[in-house]
Symmetry: D3
Subunit: 237 residues, 6 copies
């Protein structure tokens, strides 16, 4: 039924490549099938003004899409002079998800910025970004421990994310672009490796959905994220 | 337990005032307790460029907060020269929710813009905005029918929205500002008056939440939205 | 002769509602007939950089129009990414008028920002804004005295403003929108309650005007402003 | 009494140089003492969108100040990315003044943009700009007649402008920078060569002013503008 | 003498990977040692407004640097709201170089945009970008021929670029970052595979240079570009 | 052969007027034929943030073109809200050229900004700007010595610039607009009065150029710049 021939709960092949670029403290290329996102975590001493003097750290994320990551070229946001609403929405989601995974009070007044740049898009860029960004974050935190910037590991748990949806009436996991653009409902779920929810965002694109459908989608997400956690652990070992 | 003394499922007093201003085709002031949002629906002939030639209509929303709607003054977005990420996120949510309620293909190539401006804020401004905007939308659609711009009523169902959350370990409905700023989890639910979900957005601000907590929150939302639908009907009758 | 049936010197009904919203130190809704402007005065400690170290306070104003305050919807300035020339011109006028009313050297290094947001427009929004903003300013200054931020009342006099013009060859006071859009000449006058002029701005929209016409308009303004001063006092008592 | 030794009604030496640059259809350098403004009028076929199809022409103005036209360097507006409020206010004033002088319906659907750029500033830049811009406008209109773009001369009258003010308690004409920065009141008056008022803008910088003071200032303006009209005529002959 | 141990005329290892991403009509990853630039060429029907009606095509380029392509993170231009001067300078250079290589009049009214995004930077990003962009351009032109958008091959010659400089008093080719940041002089040369110059830009960072030094640098560039032409041909075969 | 009748090595008449405006520490109007650029050098204590604490000075430049400096009016950059790529490119070139001429470490933590504003354009505005800016810089440095801001003269040499190109197959010096817009190749050369190169930028507009052509152009530039150096010295004596 699915254009890719996958079963409804089957996610695309996942590849996580650490140290993809040489400068960032954490640098991860994550691939969900044809979706490829480069996640670079940068550590800097100090925190933004609104966090100063609290003795806590700060984690934030920025998201971008190369103009021709998609089927047709989209305008370069730097040239247009502003980030679009979709970009803002996504980078806020990534930032919240990563902050939820870390005990900021154990980070000292240091900042980690995770840049998630989409090299190639085929649906699910934000969930790939969160899943890869968490691995880059771990590398950046390890870098901080080696450099003596922090004493203990402030990571509370790993986070990963998957998109689920109702496609042709059936709940499916990890929608690719052909599915995403035709789905009735699209839901992004961010979870911890302890099986709890960090963020859930479900949108009825065409048809409102029922509680039963919601629960079916969440169930698919739970299984998929467990698989993603395994991929994260494999990459980190 | 709640600062306001409300029970966990009790929402704040709701007031819906139609024809609040005199120029807009639909003009509604909605109050959820001390939260007051003015929702003005404007009808114009024609659609934005990306919709031209499809024979369909378009509905969109813009959201703003008066600088001193809140406890401390925030910068005026027009003076800063851009809308913030939170504003973009909210106005996109309102727009999606309203579009889901209407059969765009029955609207002709006409546009409705709903401006949701927060006069006074005490938590829940986006859910009040959606609930009030839907009433303003009904008035705007009625205006179009009277003027012969449309033949049939393109409204598929009423939509309303409520925030729910985990406050001090308990699921509660319709969080006010003191609760919102201290809650572990904050979830916004948009539903139809036919009991289906349009949008669900849950965020763990402090602690990840379980599936049981999610379901408890959704249950509270379902009841609250039924009440809001009654308020909408009362206002329209 | 006037569309509203008013006599040439007759101003529209004036309503001044204090404490219109709950957060601002001064919050006034002022109505000149169908023109409704919300004036919120916000007190903050400190002054802008260019005033630092002078031992003086600062007062400034910002002006905005809700997109559908007018007959047809105008673009939201925050979405367009800049304030228009008309907005800038008006908020500079309001700021100058309020600063002229206050002994800044008796305010300490504190700032009052008055936000004037037009909820509904029917001509004369800038003059209503100044008249209402002065009442909000008084409430904000009283708040500062109660909180011990200032010792003496720095207010030198009340200010109020009215528009006058030549409509169908006759000088008239307090032009509403139908008159304003058809007037030959439009003049805004800001005066103190001691009968002196703070600001006068007259523009020949269609026909240049003579000194006699100027004097006739100023005379009308003097009387109208005396009435507005009474409304201000009534509201403050 | 005046820093420059001038009498109260004495304006600075005025020089008007036509054809100052070679490309513009009208190009005038005007000097009021040390204030030097280059006024270039550019003719183009067509009108802005909001004027299309009315069979009328359009005249507008833009104003700029070279960064080091003043005692201390101010930021370049192009580099800051926006025009300031003062710039907007002034260019709107120049545009209105010029439009009042011309019968737009006799201009055809053509546009004249007058760029007023301040090369050196010593007070009174906006009044010098209006006075010089009107001469450049005449040259541009003559160019249009020669080229057959218009048949009749659409100029209704010449306009000129002067600043007047209360300096050390005395009304004075044509304030230079030392006076302007110390004046109690500053008033700009734009008049026709038929002795009527196009625009009057008076601001109490320090002390509110009386009706008598206003009349004294206007009287000074009337005489000064008559002188400026003579300078304009001399330049045009 | 060189930090990398290279001889003065030795360039870094060059790798050119075609079809690096799947959507663009031409997609090339080019590596000059640790410098990695992704060059995506996008074909669209139509030309920008200023080229319309000339019966010619248009080629342009945009350049960007991922925020952590460099040793320390730089701000994201999309978030700052504008492209910096260096970015503009580089993308204009790339665009001019590519346009010089193509007979625009044989392209029909079609546009090719080449996006050059730096994934990792170690000096020489603009020269790598030009060299890779030309290969992507060839692929895009071939795509157009296969699709029947053009009949003949409008490519006049291949272009490639190299940086040369004076490092510790010696002329060297293909400066990496440690050399670039310490060089006295930096020169970028763009040449055709027919041995002619498209663009030469030499800057004395520290010490002015002599004609002899200029000629020595140009000589190095000539040899290096011949090598780059070979790499381009190998990649295309 | 040249439209102006000049010989191939003949530059246009050069005029350098010092103290052109009265406020700037250095103010030079430079004319290359009909090209007129006003170069104002402003001295301020302190340096930009990225230079603080190095005990060095800073020199930078800004470039602008009056909207009607050219044959047809171009948009005002301040009104469009950003500087174009060409403007950025030019002002960066001027800044680099001036910094190369000065020993920044002998300037103390002071800044000189040179504003180069084109009053009238006929080709070669950037080279005229550099040549005039250097004279304004000398005046500003002399002002600093008189005021005791610096002890020794930090100027290392004078810089001047000329454009050369291939016009109708022949190398020519100092292209005016008719030549510039038709030239095959355009090269700007910045040199010291000691005969060394600061910057060379050559662009093949139509046809790639050979090494021989490059050398012929550079040879022309060398002679022209020697002439310009004489004009600079004459102006300074």
């Amino acid at each position: 039924m699915r254009p890719s021939g996958r079963t409804s709960q089957q996610i695309r092949p996942v590849t996580i490549t650490r140290n993809y670029t040489c400068h960032a403290e954490g640098s991860v290329l994550i691939e969900f099938g044809d979706t490829k996102v480069l996640c670079n975590a940068s550590v800097t001493a100090g925190v933004p003004r609104f966090m100063k003097g609290k003795g806590q750290g700060w984690i934030t994320a920025e998201y971008g899409m190369l103009p021709r990551a998609t089927h047709t070229r989209s305008d370069r946001e730097a040239a247009r002079g502003k980030q679009g609403g979709r970009t803002m929405e996504i980078q806020r989601l990534i930032g919240r998800s990563l902050r939820a995974a870390v005990d900021l009070s154990a980070m000292g007044e240091n900042t980690i910025v995770v840049d998630c740049d989409v090299i190639q898009a085929d649906g699910g860029t934000r969930t790939a970004a969160i899943t890869g960004a968490c691995v880059a974050l771990v590398d950046a935190l390890n870098h901080m421990r080696k450099n003596g910037m922090i004493k203990v590991n402030p990571l509370k748990f790993m986070v990963a994310a998957i998109s689920v949806g109702i496609y042709k009436g059936e709940p499916v996991a990890d929608l690719d672009y052909p599915e995403d653009s035709a789905a009735d409902t699209d839901m992004n779920v961010v979870m911890t490796d302890t099986g709890k929810i960090i963020e859930i965002q479900g949108t009825a694109e065409e048809e409102p959905f029922s509680f039963e459908e919601m629960n079916a989608m969440v169930e698919l997400a739970k299984h998929a994220i467990r698989e993603l956690n395994d991929h994260q652990q494999d990459a980190l070992n």
